[in-house]
Amino acid sequence: MKPAYPVLHEPARPPRDEHATRAGTHVRRRSVLLEILILVVVYLTLFELLIDPMRRFETDAIAWFFSLVGSHSVTVANNDSILIASGGHRPMLAYISPSCSSLMGLLALATLAAAVMRRRRSTTLIAYLAAASVLFALNLGRMIASAAAGVWFGSGAMLLFHDWVGTVWNFVATLFGFLLLQFLTSPPSERAEQDRFGRHTARRPESWSRPGMGYRARTHRRVRAHSDSALRWFIRHTLPAPLRERIARARESNRIDYRLGFLDVDQRCSAIEGLTEDGLEAHCASLLAIATYEVDPTVLETLSQAVERSTSPIESWRAAALHLWSRGWRVGSQRESGEMKMALNVERHLKKGCGHRRRERTLFATLHDQHQSTEARTELVRKLCDQGLAYHCHSLIAFVASVDEPELIEETVTCIAMRQWEPVSTNGVAALRLWARGWLLAHEVARGGDETTVAPAPPSPPSKPGKAKRKAKERTRASRYPGGIGRGGPFIVGVTGAGGPAGISVVRALVDAGHQVLALDSDPHAGGFRVPGVKWAVVPRFDDPQYSQAMIDQATSHSLEALICTVAEEYRPLSAIADQLAARGCKTWLPDLDAVDRCIDKARFARVMESRDIAHPPTSERVRGLKRIPGPWIVKPRRGRGSRGVVTSDNLREVRSLMRSNPDLIVQSRLEGDEFTADVLIDRNGQMMTCVPRWRLATRGGISVHGLTFDSPEVTKVCAEVVAAIGITGAANIQGMVDDEGEVSIIEVNARFSGGLPLTLAAGADVVGAYLQAILEPDRRIAPLYFDPGVRMTRVFNEYIDGAS
C-alpha cells in the first residue's frame, strides 16, 4: 500500500527544534486534559456521594406512586428495593441498581454544561435545572413502567422491558434533556448573533462586527425589547442596595456598549470622555472594544489621552490591556519613549496563564539588557513568539511595556501578527495583540498612512448635538458662505423646473441667500417665476428639440455662473451641452446618466434594490409576475413623476386589467408604515455627506404638506446603501417607509431636490448652498451638514395675483 503521490519523508527545510516551537501548544493541551481529568474526578466523586441518597429517593418515589395509584401493597427494603404485591399477581421485588438511577445522566448533563457552556452561567444554571427535572421525571417514568410490567406480566417482562424498551427510553430521555438544555441556553432569535442562514442578526455596528458571526443582511425579524429576566427582578427587588450596586458596577464594567459604534466621530470622542470620567474600570469592556475595533485616529487619540490621564489603580486585566494598548498607540505616534509607568503594574494583571515565573524573569532580563546587541534581542523575541505568545506573555508584556527601539518594536509586532492563528488563551495574548494593533495603526497614521485604514467613518446626522457637535455645526455654518452664499458671491444662478415644488424651494433659498436667480420653466405660469426678486424665462420642455439651444441662449444672455437642475429628465439633454455651457462660464453638476436612469426607471430601480438586498416593495413590470406581488397594490407608470398616473387598488382583477391595458405600468405592493423622505447630498466620489430624513405626515397631490424632521441611524444607513447602489451624485431625495417593526423599505429615489426642501433648509442643513458651492468649486470637499430633528413644517397655499385692480 504505497501512496500514489510523493511524500517528502525528509524535511525540505533546515532542521529545527520542533518540540520547542510548540511549547505553547503543549501547555494548552495539558490544561485541557487536566480539566477533563478534574471533570472526571468530580463526576465520579459526586456519583459516589450521591448515588445512595438518589436511589433511596427514587425508590421512595416509585413506592409512593404505586401506593397512590392502586391497591398495591408496597414495601421498601434496604433503601434500594421495593416489594410490590398486587391482588391476583405474584409479589415482585424490584431492585434499583446504580445504572437505573437518573444520577448518571444528570451528572453527565452537568459535566457537559460545565465544560462547554461557559458563557451566561446564570442562564445555563436555570436551563440545567429545567433539563434535569425533565430527565429525572422521564427516568422515573421508565422505572415505574418497568416495575408495572413486572407486576402485571412477571419478572421476565420487567427484565425485557427494562433492558430493551427502557434502554431506548433512557436514551431518548437523556437526549431530550440535552436538547432542552441546549434550547434554553441558546439565545432567542432577536438576540442571536446569526440565524440558520448564517446571517448576522445581532445588529451590531458594522465596524464592530466580526467575520464569521454571520454575514450582515437585513432581516425581517421583529425586534422585541429585552424582557426583564427573573434574575434581574430578583437582584433589583430583593438584594440590599450596596450589594445591588456592586453587581451593577461589575456588570457595567464587563458589558460592551455597542451603541458607541453607531455614533459619529465627534460623538464617539465625547462618549469616551464621558465614560472615562468615572474611571477606566467603570466601563472597561466598552473602552477596550473601542481600542479593538476603532479605526478613526481621532477617536483612538482621544481614548489614548483619556487612558493616559487616568490615575486610578488598575484592578482588572482589561484596564491593564488598555494601558498597554495606549502605550503602543503613543509609541507608534512617536510621541513617547522610555518605560511605561510600571507603578501601574500592568503585567501583574496579565500574567495569568503565563509560563514559569522565574524563567520569564530571566528572559525579560535578557530582553531588557541594553548591553545585548539588537540582533540578539530580536532573535530572542522571535524565539519567544515562536514558542507561543501565551507561553511567554509575561516576559513579552514586560518587554513591550518598556521597549522603544523601532527595530525591536517592528519585529515584535511582526511576530505577533504572524501568530494570529494562536488561540487567545490568556488575557496576556489579547493585550499583546491590542498593543501591536495600537502601534501599527499609530505608525501608519504618523507616516501619513493608508487612508483606507484610518479614514473617518461616514458622517451621520446627530440627534442631540453635543458640545463638540455644536461647535462643528457653528464652524460649518460660519465658513459656509462668507459674505452670503458662495465664496465671493453673490452669483447668477439658473434654476430649471421652477414650476415644481423643488424648483420653487431652490429658487427661494437662493434668493434668500442673496443670489441673482434666473428661474426657468416650460410653463409661463410657473410658481417660481412669482418669487419676488427673480428673473425668469420660459424655455421648451426637455424633450423639445429646441431645448438645448434655448438653454445655451439663456446661459449666454444672462451670464449664468451656475445652473441647478431640479428636473431629473433634463439631465440627459443638459449633459449633451454641458461643455458648451461651461465654455460660456456656466457651471453645472450633472450626475451619471445611467444612475439617473436607475432612479427614473422604477422597474430597473427595483432590480438594483433587489440585487443589493435593500428592502423595497415587491415589484413586477409584467402581468405574469403579479402573482408574486402580495396585495394591496399600487400601479404606477414605469417612468412617471410625482403621483401622476398612480392608481391604488385592492382588487387583483382590476390590477391585472390595468397592467394589460398599458405595458409601461408597473405594479408594487403597497407598504404599510410611516412614510419618509430623506434629502441627501452626495459628493462626487459617491459618498453621502448629508442625509436629512423627515416624516411625510401628510401629503397632497404627492407633495408633502406636513413634515417633521427626525433622526434615525437606520434610515441614514439604508440611505447610504441606496446611494451607493444607485451610484448617484449630487442632490437627491429618497422616499421610503418605516414599518411597525422598524424595517426601512425604500420606495424610490429622485435624482434631484425634493419638494419638501424648505423643511430641510429650516432644520439647518443648507443643502442648496452646499450644492451650489460644489458646483462652483468642484474640487472642494463637501462638508457634512447638520440639522435639528423635530422641526415641523406645515405647508399652506400661497397666492400670486396678477391683473387685479
Binding site: 510523493p6 511524500v7 493541551r29 440558520r196 442562514f197 448564517g198 467575520p211 443589493r612 409576475g625
Partner: protein, 505 residues
C-alpha cells in the same frame, strides 16, 4: 502537471483482498480459539477503548473551543497591509451554471491589490451553460482566465486544478468551490499567515448560507458550525494540526509543485494534500476569521453522495498514509496520536456498525456480556460529537430553534454508518469510483451583494464593480436574474425559468 507516481491501473483502484482475507482469518481464528461469545465480548471491549479515545478527543476539542474561540473571533486584528504576496485563485467548475455568476461577483469584489490577484477558472467539461457564462465573465475582467477541459477529462477536481496550476506563477494559490461566496477580506486573512515561511497551507472557515432551506440543510449548518468552530479549531489549538479543507484555503505554490500537484488518484484531494504537507514537515494553519459561505445539500440523496465521496477518499488516504504517518519524525508523539485518529475518523462509523451488529447479535444470545453493557458504547459514540455540537451552537450564538436540528444527527449518524461501511468495502474491494460533483441546490440566500452594500463607505476599494459592469456581465451570460423576497427567481431577459430546474434530482 503529471503525477510523479501514477497508479498502475488508473481505471480501477487498488483492491485489498489480502487485508480483508487477513481480517477474516483473524476473526475465524479468534472464534475457533476463544469461542464466539468471548470473541464478541473482546470485540466489544476493543470498540469501547477506541470509542473512549475518540470521546476524549471530541471532548478536548469542545473544551478548547469553549474556552478560547470566542476570544479569537473578537480579538484585535493586526493588519500588515504591506505583506501582499501574489495570489492565484483557482476554481474548478463542472456544470455550475446555477452558481457561477454569484461566485464570480464575489470573487471580483475581493479586497486585495488588483495587480496581485488572478483568477483561473477551469471549466471541467461542463455540458450546461457554465462555459459560456465563464467566457462572458472573462471579458469583464482581464484577471479572469478560463480554462476549458474537454468532456470526460480525467482526474476530477484534482485534474482540473492541476490544469490551472500549470499556468500559475503566483506565490500563493487559493482554492474555492463554485458554490462558495468568499467574504471580501478573505484573501488578506488567508495570506497573512504565510508571513511565516514555514507555513504551507492555510484553511479558512466555511459557513452554510442556506441552513433554513430544509431540515437536512439545517443539520449541515450546525455540523459546519461545530466542524469549523470546534473540531478544526481544537486540532489547531491543541496539536497545531488543522486540516486543509479543499475550499476557502490557500497553499504555497512552491510547496504544491514540490509535492507534484493535487493527487488525481483521490477524490478527497484536500485531505491528501494535508497529509502530504504535514508528513513533509510543513505547517497548516487555520484562521476562523477567514470566512466564506457555501451551500449545503438539501436532500438526502445528495447528502449520501457527498458523504460517500468524503468517506471513500478519506479511507483511501488512511490506507495510503498510515505507514508513513507511523514512521514520520516530523510529529511529536501526541501529534502522531492525533494524526492517526484524524486518519481513522472515517473508520469510526464502520466500527459503530460493528457495535450495532454485536448488539443485535446479543439479542439472539450471542456474546458473553449483557447487552446493556454495550450501552456505554452508545453514550460514548454520541457524547463526544454532541459536546462538539453544543460548543458550536453556543459559540456561534445561533438562534434558539437551531437546537432542534441536533435531533437530525440521529438519522444522520445512522446514515453515516451505512455510507462509510459501504465506502469501506467498496474501497477494499477496489470497486471503480471517480469524482462525483455534488449537484447544487441553487441556494436562495446569497451574501455577495449584501456584504458590499453594508460595508462602511470608507472601506470601498477601487476594485468594486459598479452595477453596470455586473449587470452587463450577467446579461451577457444569463440575462439579468431578479430575486424576489420569497426566493423565487425569474429571468427577466429570456423566458426560461431558473426556479429549481434540478429539483427532481
Amino acid at each position: 502537471m503529471k503525477p510523479t507516481h501514477p497508479s498502475k491501473r488508473a481505471d480501477r483502484p487498488e483492491a485489498h483482498y489480502v487485508a480483508l482475507g487477513v481480517y477474516a482469518l483473524l476473526l475465524a481464528l479468534a472464534i475457533y480459539i476463544f469461542g464466539i461469545n468471548h470473541t464478541a465480548a473482546g470485540l466489544a471491549w476493543f470498540l469501547m477503548v477506541v470509542f473512549f479515545f475518540f470521546f476524549l478527543r471530541h471532548l478536548s476539542f469542545a473544551i478548547a473551543a469553549a474556552r478560547w474561540v470566542h476570544r479569537d473571533l473578537y480579538a484585535a486584528d493586526i493588519e500588515l497591509v504591506e505583506f501582499t504576496p501574489s495570489i492565484a485563485v483557482l476554481i474548478a467548475c463542472k456544470n455550475e451554471e446555477l452558481v457561477v455568476d454569484k461566485l464570480l461577483q464575489a470573487l471580483l469584489r475581493l479586497e486585495y491589490p488588483e495587480n496581485l490577484v488572478d483568477f483561473f477558472i477551469v471549466d471541467d467539461g461542463s455540458t450546461d451553460a457554465t462555459a459560456s457564462k465563464l467566457d462572458a465573465w472573462a471579458h469583464v475582467d482581464p484577471r479572469i482566465t478560463v480554462i476549458h477541459r474537454p468532456l470526460n477529462s480525467t482526474g476530477g477536481k484534482s485534474g482540473a486544478l492541476n490544469a490551472a496550476l500549470e499556468l500559475v506563477q503566483a506565490d500563493l494559490i487559493c482554492v474555492f468551490d463554485a458554490d462558495h461566496e468568499p467574504a471580501r477580506d478573505v484573501l488578506f486573512r488567508l495570506a497573512r499567515h504565510f508571513l511565516d515561511e514555514r507555513v504551507d497551507c492555510v484553511m479558512g472557515r466555511c459557513i452554510i448560507r442556506n441552513g433554513g432551506e430544509s431540515q437536512l440543510a439545517g443539520v449541515v449548518f450546525v455540523d459546519f458550525l461545530s466542524g469549523y468552530l470546534v473540531n478544526e479549531y481544537g486540532r489547531q489549538a491543541l496539536y497545531e494540526l488543522p486540516a486543509y479543507g479543499g475550499a476557502n484555503c490557500a497553499v504555497r505554490r512552491s510547496t504544491l509543485v514540490a509535492l507534484g500537484g493535487w493527487n488525481v488518484e483521490t477524490v478527497t484531494e484536500d485531505t491528501d494534500l494535508t497529509i502530504r504537507v504535514i508528513l513533509a514537515g510543513g505547517r497548516v494553519r487555520y484562521d476562523p476569521t477567514a470566512i466564506d459561505y457555501e451551500e449545503a445539500v438539501i436532500v438526502a440523496r445528495r447528502f449520501w453522495r457527498q458523504r460517500y465521496r468524503w468517506a471513500r477518499g478519506h479511507q483511501k488516504c488512511t490506507r495510503d498514509y498510515l505507514v508513513p504517518t507511523l514512521r514520520t519524525k516530523n510529529l511529536s508523539m501526541a501529534q502522531r496520536g492525533e494524526f492517526l485518529m484524524f486518519l481513522l475518523v472515517y473508520h469510526i462509523p464502520v466500527l459503530s456498525g460493528l457495535g450495532v451488529v454485536l448488539t443485535i447479535a446479543r439479542l439472539f444470545g450471542v456474546g458473553s456480556i449483557p447487552a446493556v453493557a454495550l450501552l456505554p458504547l452508545t453514550l460514548l459514540l454520541f457524547l463526544g460529537p454532541l459536546a462538539e455540537l453544543t460548543a458550536g451552537l453556543s459559540i456561534g450564538r445561533v438562534e434558539r430553534r437551531s437546537a432542534w436540528h441536533l435531533l437530525g444527527f440521529l438519522p444522520s449518524f445512522a446514515l453515516s454508518i451505512v455510507t462509510t461501511t459501504w465506502a469501506y468495502f467498496d474501497g477494499m474491494l477496489g470497486r471503480p469510483y471517480s469524482w462525483v460533483k455534488t449537484p447544487r441546490s441553487e441556494a436562495i440566500t446569497s451574501n455577495a451583494d449584501v456584504s458590499i452594500v453594508n460595508e462602511p463607505l470608507h472601506t470601498r476599494r477601487q476594485s468594486d464593480l459598479d452595477d453596470q459592469t455586473i449587470e452587463g456581465a450577467m446579461i451577457a451570460s444569463t440575462g439579468l436574474v431578479i430575486r424576489s423576497r420569497d426566493g423565487q427567481r425569474t429571468n427577466t431577459v429570456g423566458t426560461k425559468s431558473f426556479a429549481r430546474p434540478r429539483g427532481s434530482e
